[in-house]
Structures are given as structure tokens and as C-alpha cells.
Symmetry: D2
Subunit: 362 residues, 4 copies
């Protein structure tokens, strides 16, 4: 379960009956219509076989509870997405021959062999559909208080987009299949992924996420910092290996006089002249845009021959995968990062509102 007031769980296995999400603590009265949820789910699709898997998930969802007359009821929301286009034929190959750097081996040991190994089970990218649905509701929750979240592809391999405006992100990200805010870079990234795929390989990348219009005060240090809670949530996404806020790792190479964001006043409001902090100081939102980047490793599932072990005979062996895998999960992760972030913000928004209302008095 993620969250304390807006609480989210995920469930389901890639080749099981369905995947889904349970949300507890969502306020009542939020308009949720099916078209909106469908559109959110579509963002996960690349629909370009040149650079993406051929699994054609239908992603029909089923609202099981918590939404009545197109509005949240205030009771637990459960939404299920049935698995349709399942092809488990190629998965016996990995049952006892784990893919390097995949969860195959750790899952086998942790679950004592009882895990549903087909399609990667709970470790499949398939689960991210549930993340998108939960986050779609979270985005509606925070929207009522003016907060918006946007993610985009920051880099794939060595092709890096660099600084882009929020306007470019809003306008361009979903206009190209690589979810890139810069149309020129988008083409380069497309070519890189295509070439990678043709070689049977995969490639990593970075997703950047921006959250706008947070009030000052979200985050509950010393333990429940806003950046800490975002980080924990982001690591639920398969393939994440790092996260950095604001200038992040670059700050480790800076002097304080370079790194500090001078405070100033604009239009009668306190703001900072730059945003190297990424909108968070001391674990609390400072009113500037939250900005962070997430490093994704290359999909571990590649078509090239790899060394592995046979878990039954305990011998060294090779594996050469068949099946349908994405050459670059980064581009598919863009809406996931965005929506997972909304979940954390929805939770902290509610926590913050409790104090604000309390202090207003009755």
C-alpha cells in the first residue's frame, strides 16, 4: 500500500486473470468517466511495432467498486483490467533459466517456486496499467486543487533532450511515439530504438517529471518527506535504478554559492530565481515546480544469447529469448511516472489539508 490518506495497492499477474488497483481514502464526489480512464490507459501504448512489443493488450477496465453515477463514493475503489492477449508459450523457457538482471531468479527464491512465472508475473510491465489507472484518479483528485503533473522522455541512451519548457512538454510529448517533448530529438530517439530492436538488444533512458502548482507545505519530515515518498513510489515501476531531484547528482559537484536558489518576490509572492532544488526543501514542497528525473535500465529481456543458470540442475547454461518484449521501457514509462507521482501528491495534499483546516478552527 502506498500512502496514508490516499492509499493505493496494485495486484495481478501478467498472464493471470487480471491486474488491477485498490484505492482507499479517495474523497467522494470526484467525477470519473470511462473515456477519461481509457485515454489515460492509451498513453501506455506505443502502437508502433517498429519500436514496441506486439502484445496487443485490450486494456478494457472494469470498475468494480467505489464509483457510482460517474463519481467517487468515498469508499474503496477497485478497478480491474482483464488480461486478454496472453501468449504463455515461450515462458517455460525461463521458468528454470532466469533472465539475467530480471526478477526471475529473485522471485523464484523468494516465493519458493510458487510465483506465477508466466509473463514475468507481478514483475511484468503489465502491472503498470494498474498504476496508470490509480494515478489517473489521483490526477483528478489533485486537479481540483489546481495541481498538474507532466512527464516526458528526457533521454534514451546517449540522446538527451536537455531543458524543455513546460509548454513543449504539454504540447509535444504524446505527439510522437517516443514521448519526447522535443520533436527533433524524438526522431533521433526513434531511430536509436529501432536500430537497437533490430539487433535484438534493448536500451535504457531517463524520464523527467514535473508537478505544478503545489502549495508550500506538502511533506511530513522528519520521516515522510515528499521526495522520499515520491522515490519509494517510483521504485514500484519496473526497471527504475535511480532518481534525482532538481539538479540532482550535478549538485554533488557544485558549490553552495552555485547551488542555492536565491529567494525573491514576484507579483507579491515568494519564489526562487531558479529551481535547482526541484521544488523541495527539507522534504517539503516550496511552491516551485517539483522536478525530478528517473533512470530506467534497458529491458533485461533481449533476444541475444545470454549466460544464465539452470535452477533445477544447478548448471551453467545459455538462454536466447523468444516472445514479445519492448526494446525500450523508458518511453512506455512516461505516463507511469506521471501517474505514480500524482498518487503521492494526492496523499500528501490530503494530509496537508487536514492541518490547514484544523488551524482554521471550527
Amino acid at each position: 500500500m502506498l500512502g496514508r490518506m490516499f492509499k493505493v495497492s496494485f495486484f495481478g499477474e501478467s498472464h493471470g486473470k487480471a491486474i488491477g488497483t485498490l484505492i482507499e481514502g479517495c474523497p467522494p464526489g470526484i467525477n470519473i468517466d470511462s473515456d477519461y480512464l481509457s485515454n489515460e490507459l492509451k498513453k501506455r501504448k506505443i502502437n508502433d511495432p517498429t519500436i514496441s512489443t506486439q502484445r496487443r493488450e485490450e486494456d478494457k477496465f472494469n470498475i468494480v467498486s467505489g464509483i457510482f453515477n460517474n463519481h467517487t463514493t468515498g469508499s474503496p475503489i477497485t478497478i480491474i483490467i482483464y488480461n486478454k492477449d496472453i501468449d504463455s508459450t515461450h515462458y517455460d523457457q525461463i521458468r528454470f533459466r532466469p533472465r539475467p538482471s530480471h526478477a526471475d531468479y529473485t522471485a523464484y527464491v523468494k516465493y519458493h517456486g510458487f510465483n506465477d512465472y508466466r509473463g514475468g508475473g507481478i514483475f511484468s510491465g503489465r502491472l503498470t496499467a494498474a498504476m496508470v489507472i490509480a494515478g489517473a484518479i489521483a490526477k483528478k483528485v489533485i486537479k481540483k486543487w489546481g495541481i498538474e503533473v507532466y512527464a516526458h522522455t528526457y533521454s534514451v541512451g546517449h540522446i538527451e533532450v536537455g531543458d524543455v519548457s513546460v509548454e513543449s512538454i504539454k504540447e509535444n510529448t504524446y505527439r510522437n511515439p517516443v514521448r519526447c517533448a522535443d520533436p527533433e530529438k524524438a526522431k533521433q530517439i526513434y531511430e536509436l530504438i529501432k536500430e537497437t530492436r533490430m539487433r535484438g538488444d534493448s536500451i535504457g533512458g531517463i524520464v523527467e517529471c514535473i508537478a505544478l502548482n503545489l502549495p508550500v507545505g506538502l511533506g511530513e519530515p522528519p520521516i515522510d518527506t515528499l521526495d522520499g515518498d515520491i522515490s519509494k513510489a517510483i521504485f514500484t515501476i519496473p526497471g527504475v535504478k535511480g532518481i534525482e531531484f532538481g539538479k540532482g547528482f550535478q549538485l554533488s559537484r557544485m558549490y553552495g554559492s552555485q547551488a542555492n536558489d536565491p529567494l525573491t518576490i514576484r507579483n507579491g509572492k515568494i519564489t526562487t530565481e531558479r529551481n535547482y532544488s526541484g521544488g523541495i526543501n527539507g522534504g517539503i514542497s516550496n511552491g516551485m515546480p517539483i522536478r525530478f528525473r528517473v533512470a530506467f535500465k534497458p529491458t533485461p529481456s533481449i533476444y541475444l544469447e545470454q549466460k544464465t543458470v539452470d535452477l533445477q540442475s544447478m548448471t551453467e547454461t545459455e538462454i536466447k529469448l523468444k516472445g514479445r518484449f519492448d526494446p525500450c521501457i523508458t518511453i512506455r514509462a512516461v505516463p507511469i511516472v506521471e501517474n505514480i507521482t500524482a498518487i503521492v501528491i494526492a496523499d500528501h495534499l490530503l494530509r496537508w489539508l487536514a492541518w490547514e483546516k484544523y488551524l482554521e478552527g471550527s
Copy 2:
């Protein structure tokens, strides 16, 4: 509160009466003696006025509960460290003139002006003494199951240590005031911090942490991943702006064929030929060393003049700090990162043991 089975809270303000920690769920029978705790606390001290603050914290701790006859009782452990060498004279200057990139401003707004602003309150590095104490107990907890954690200074500014052996880390880290596993680099880092301090500036850096001998299976995806829980815990440390596991952000620039860690068998045990994954796959420990790096920004408290605002008059102004600040918190954070990590591992170890014992049957 961090954790589910081994649960840790921190409390206290920099210039209040004391700081401390509460640990719930610690198993009984673990030997904790005062010398051990004292030694752990000493690791936080640099004791070299050339590169560190002159605040001389005594760090006398007081075991309030949960330890009896030098052993944990199984009941809540509370340990308090009284604040001694307090000098609050310089803090009125920042009460209404927040330091750029510090929590002064966010705290003022979030707590509606009621926060104890003296010495940075709960946002002070002072609280890390409580983190060290809690983590010292966690290290004892995991030691019984053979697990060890070591951190060291990976870089300061542009001076980077690069790959070092575990042996070097164990041997050298606490032999120099900059907590560096490489004696040569240690000298360079020392000079860099000294020069930075003389200019009234501060500088960032990176701490690396390694955890050894974890069994395969720690971590509870899809939500409570081991890397996610470590990340959340690490962000409780002041100044953290990023974290990456294994090859981290570098993986975003790699192909899968380069990034995957081939599985192999050594001495009858499954292992990987390299450890680009940093010991975690799918949020679960894979038996290889856990390895991650943490980016620290430069201390926001510098002696150079900075632009800020006056919160009372809502006007732009300047601040030039007096007081006692560290020019490089990275080197002081080494034992904090190490001990905070132990807390998360202790928690996940207990969770893992529950299942393992359960499956053994009665």
C-alpha cells in the same frame, strides 16, 4: 516511522532539549553496550576544525527504555541525546530571512511560524545523531544474521574515488577525516573542502553504501521494494538530492547486452558475473552486495552574501550568515547513510524471516 516490523522514529530539535529515537519491534536479547553506541556516534565527528563546524556536541546519550542488563528487552527502545553546546545567538537573523535552498522557508509556512527555528530545528544535521543511534542498533540486529553495511565518501565536488574494494572501504574510511576509502583521494578532498571553507562556501558530494551477505529474497514487491524502502529512508537525511543503485543513471545510457549481469555458479552457489544491478532485481535482494550512491547537495548555509526575502515585510533583502556550519555535509553523512541503510535491512530481514519460518512449518 520507518519500517513495518523494525520501526524507527526520530524526534528532537537542534537547539531544543534533546534529540532521540524510538525503536519499536526490535527483537529481544541483542547485546547493546554503551561503548559500542559511543563509538558509532563518534563516527559522525570530524574533529578537524579546518574542514568542519566548531560545534562541539557532547553526544552523551541516555538509554531511556528497552535495554536491560545490556540487552534489548523486545519492548520499545528510546534513546535520547541531550543538546549541550547550543549557541542560538545567530539564529534570529534567519527567523524571518530564510536561507536560500534551506528548509527555513518551507518550515515557516508549513508550521505556520510555530516551528523551532533555532539551529534549523528538526532540519538540522543534529538529528542525524539520532539516526546513527537507531542504525547502530539495527546493525547489531542484522549482524546476527551475518549482514554488514559500509559507507564511504565516493566523491566531493569533482574529485571522485571510483571503484574501491570492500577491503579498502573497511580499512581506510575512518582513517581520514573525509571518510574516504582511497588515501590519495582523501588528501585531495581534504584540500578541496579546506579551500572551499576558506572562501566561505560549501560543496556537495556523493556517499556510496554497500551491504554484504543479504540472503536472496529481501523486499516485498509490488509496493515495498527493497530499493524503494532504502530510498525513502535515505531521503530522511538532510541534503540528499538523488540516489542510484548499481550502475544507476549510467544504465540509462547502456544497451541491455551491456547492462545485464550474467548469472553463473561459483562454489555451488548462484551468483552474477558482475553487479551492475547493485544487488537488487525486481525490488528483491539477489544475494550480491547491495550497492548504491547518494547525492548530497552543498550545505545551503554559506558565509557569502545571498539574496533572500524578509518574511515579515515581504521585501527582497540579503543575508550573510554568522554561526557554525559545515562546509561539506557529505563527509559527515557517511555513517548516517550506513546506519539508515541498516534500519531498512533490519526491517526487511524480519519480514523475510517471518515467511521463511512460516514455510518451515511447526
Copy 3:
């Protein structure tokens, strides 16, 4: 969410699409077959229109996740029961005219009118099917460690069963429609409910629950006591107004010399000569059977005319219910109490095992 290691959530509304449960933290490898779950669900049915509602729920469940090849996988388990025999025609009557002592009014206010009021929404007895399913899995979990739970009807109205042996409970409870361990009393209770129903009224009762073979040591005081956690869980069942352990409220009228359970040794094991404590001392199981009683109020839904208010016009009015209601929820609550209790014990068993295994050492 109930629990810390074995974590259970419920969702769904009475006249919505479905109800269900999500279980996180269930160990892998537990055999769960559909027949077992069906049988557990059947225990909720009275199948005697003389004393029970005529709603004929089909209770076909759908295992959505977490069970593979008839065994738990270790991943989140979701089971859904679709609502079939729904008749919402009579519910518009209560939308703005709340039933006295029902949740109609509190739900209307809390959820700002957005709650699914049909059939009582989440407050319906319908949700207890989800509780039974979750508890059925919990019973399997604790069975592996020898623990069993049994509930039975202790009283309805003034007809009280009094002390009955565990053997009687096991043998008789499900042999009569009122779930009573004493066949003679069962007849009297049957007549009482029948007569109550004919008058359009409802009646209260008490369910007793016994848990056998718990090891000494379950419970985590000072906060997470075993009796406290059982109590919280029991109050999730609609209609519960009280709980007492061992001799319970009678102990408030006793002297210590009467109330204390003398310790003694039988077959080389420590035991107590009687069990007025109900198997718990200091919030920790003492090895004797856990024994507690749960007070159920009469169903608030009766067919007699009652005073209420009109929420729209804010005037006093009357309500005379139509629809299908149980005259005595107590007898239907027997398997619910039993299974909810198993959930709490499963959770505390896992917590206890973590320490036990830890102390064994690696």
C-alpha cells in the same frame, strides 16, 4: 487495511458490480481450492426463509490474482464476488429518509451524498462475504501451524446457550440454521427468530469465538495487543456493539482471588486451571484457548413504522420499510466472526514467527 504482515482490505457495495477482498503478505505455497472457498461462503447462508432474508446471492467468486495452480503465489490475492440478485427498487425510499440506527444518515453526511446508498452500500451485510473469503484463506494459513478457530451462536435475545464444549461447537454449529452448538437451544432460538420476523421486528444476539492451539507469545504490546487487534477487526462487522474476552464484563464484578487463573503444569506443560482470561494476558496469547463474545444489535432494518427525518426537506417523517432484511444478523455473523478472527491471528502469527526465527539465528 487490517494487519501488518498479513494485510487485508475489503471493497464493494451491496448493489454495485461486485464486492471483494485484497490480501497482501500471504505466504506462498498454501493450497486454496475453489470447493473450500465455496463451502466457506455457504456457511453465510441460512437457506431457511422462515428466519432469513430471501435475497439469493449466488456468491460465485472469481480469483483475480495471487493464486496459481491452486496455491498462493506470495503476491497480492484478489478475489471478487459479483452481485447478482439485486433488487434496488425499494431503496429510493431510504435515500433521503434514513433508517434509524442504520448507517444511512452517517454515510449521507460523511460522503456528502455521493455514497452508493442502494442496498446499504458498503454498510450492507453483503460485504461480509468478502470477509469470509479473506478469513477462509487466513484459516488455511494458521492451520499449517495447527491453529483453529470456531464461532457459534451464544445467545439470541434472552435465550443463552451458556458453556458448551469445543466438541459440541465443532459438531453442532452448522447442523442447524441458527448456528447453535446446543440442539435444544437451537430450537428455541429458531422459534424466537421466527416469531420476531412474523411481527416485522428484528432481534439481537451474541456470537462466541474460540481459537485453539495458539503458541504463547502472539501480540505486540504496548500498542498492538492481540485482544485490541481482534477487537478492531471485529468492529468491521456490521451490527457489532461490544466485545469481551474470557469472563469479560463479569470480571468487573469479581475479586482477584476469584478471577485469577491459577497456573499449573499438565503433561509437562504450563497451563492454567481455568480460563477466565480468555487466553490472553497483557495483550499476549498465553497458550490457553482464546475465547471472546461479540454483542450484535438487532438489525436496524425492520418492517414496523419508525420515526425518521427527511434529509431534503429537513422535516420529521415516518418510514415503513419494504425489501428483504434479516430478522437476526447474529446467526449469519457466526462464520464472519470466525473468519475475521483468523485474519488477525494469521497476521500475529507471522509477526511472532519473525522474532522466533530471528532468535534461532542463521
Copy 4:
């Protein structure tokens, strides 16, 4: 930890260095002065050696963190009460010869003999001082929103007070040493305890608690019901064996037509004609006073000879206690029940405010 937004932990052992409480999530700006806390602590004292223990706890508390200039800061509050008048001489007698119906035996087994057995360790009534302190702060929190809590002695042995007005409770409870709202009954109870004590025995009783002015809507079903959360919290108090809300167990013997509280309108507000529900329907506060009763068993520590076992030799033996024990913990539990209840209400108040503020919109 109790609570989700207003989170409370207790720590400390009876004959250890201190006991205390940690409160996380308390809003800033609440005035807390030492006199108030002292007065609250004094309510735990009976100061009449005829009916109470002679342990003279000083109950000097030490505010360690979270309060600055007599106001809460919004950061974790830690308050410690040092143990002073400790006499451990008589406790070796019980180390291996557990008192019947006490936690001596369960603690010995659970903590593998490492628990601090002196004075009952964490199971001592001593810990209730920490509960009072935490609850005193909670009472201030809820007072700002108009909510008040009052407890009183409802019965001791067979002497029962019966229905008393809120005015009587407020006026009389602390005017007599047995915390009774009815002065006449107070005398009878006094005599009963005195006589019990002279015989070396102890006696049970019931505490009733009333919470006034809660808004409609506190409680978060289906899991976190208000009555369930109160119950769990109440069971942290030593000696509790049962709890009932409203008419409680009596409702199990009633018809619905007798039990239901008719809704009506008074002064333009919805209310009920009676309050058999005890102010809660469906786990949610209904605007009427919360009213519940808590059954306390007699103190297990009596001066009469009792059968027990020797844990080392595993033989049957006797115990005849020396030391200082209360003959009736019920009367001392009155302020504990009151203040523990305030903790739960403070938590649910904040949760409720989050939604209310959220729905107001920005």
C-alpha cells in the same frame, strides 16, 4: 503506534529509567503549558492509602521535543517521565514464579526471558502516565474543535452507578477518590475497595466514557471504524477485558423496535430521541455523544496465596505477593480511558478535516 494522522507511541518500563510518549503528526500552534500537563497527571493519583498503592510516583515530566514557547511546533513531541520511587526488592519473587492472570508468564515466553520483569516492566500501570500525557495533548487538539471527553467510574464490583448526567460527571468525578459521578455511590465504592484491600484481595469495575460535540462523519469504514479504533486503543490499558458502545451487550437482548434510535429534528438539527447506539452508526459518529463502557478485571496482584509454577524447575508452587499494589485499578483508569479516547478522536478529527477541506476546494 496508534493513529494515522495523530500518531502516538508509548515506551518505558516500570522500574527502568523513565516512561514516556512520542506523538507524531500533532498540528502546530496548540498551547501546552506545564501546569495543564501536571494537573492531568495528578488525576491518576488517588492519594488515599486506604484504597490505593503507596508508590509515590513524582510524575515530573520532561518535555524533550516538539513544544517551543509553550506551543506545539508541528514536529514530533516527546515527553518523558522519570521513574523515581522505585522499589524492586520484591520483584525477584515473581521473576520465575509468574503471578496468575498477569503478563509475567506471557512476557517471559515472548521476550525469551530478556524482558525487564521488575515492577511488571511495560505491563505496569506505570505506563498509563504516558498515556495520560499523550491524551492530555490530544484533548487540547480536539478542544479547538469543541470536542470534549469525560470518563467516570461506572461500577466497582456489584455497586453500579447507573445513568448519570454529563453535568454530574463533570462536577463530581474528581471530587472523590473513587472517581464516581454519584457522591452516594462513591461512598459505597470506597467502603468496598477498603474492605477488599484489608482482605488482601482486589476487585474489578467498569469505567464509562462520553465524548461530546463530535461532528457527524468521524470514522473510516469499512476498516477504520471509529468504534473499532477506540476499542483497539482502549485495550492498550492494562486490565481491560471488554468494551461496549451505547447499550452494548443489552442490545443483544433487545428487539429492533426497542433498540433503534428514532431520528428527529431539534432546533433545526438532526438528532436522535435516545442514544442506544452510543453515538456511532456504521463505524461513523452520528453527532450524538459517543458513550461506551470498559470492563476492568481485578488487579491480578493480590496478597493472598495463589497457585503458580516455577519457570526454572518447572514445578508447581505457591506465591504470596509482597510489594505495593492497587486493590482496584478501575478507579485509577478513569483518566486513562478519557485521555486514550481523546487520542483516537484527535486522529479521526484530522482525517475527517482533510476530506472536508478538500471538498471545499481551493
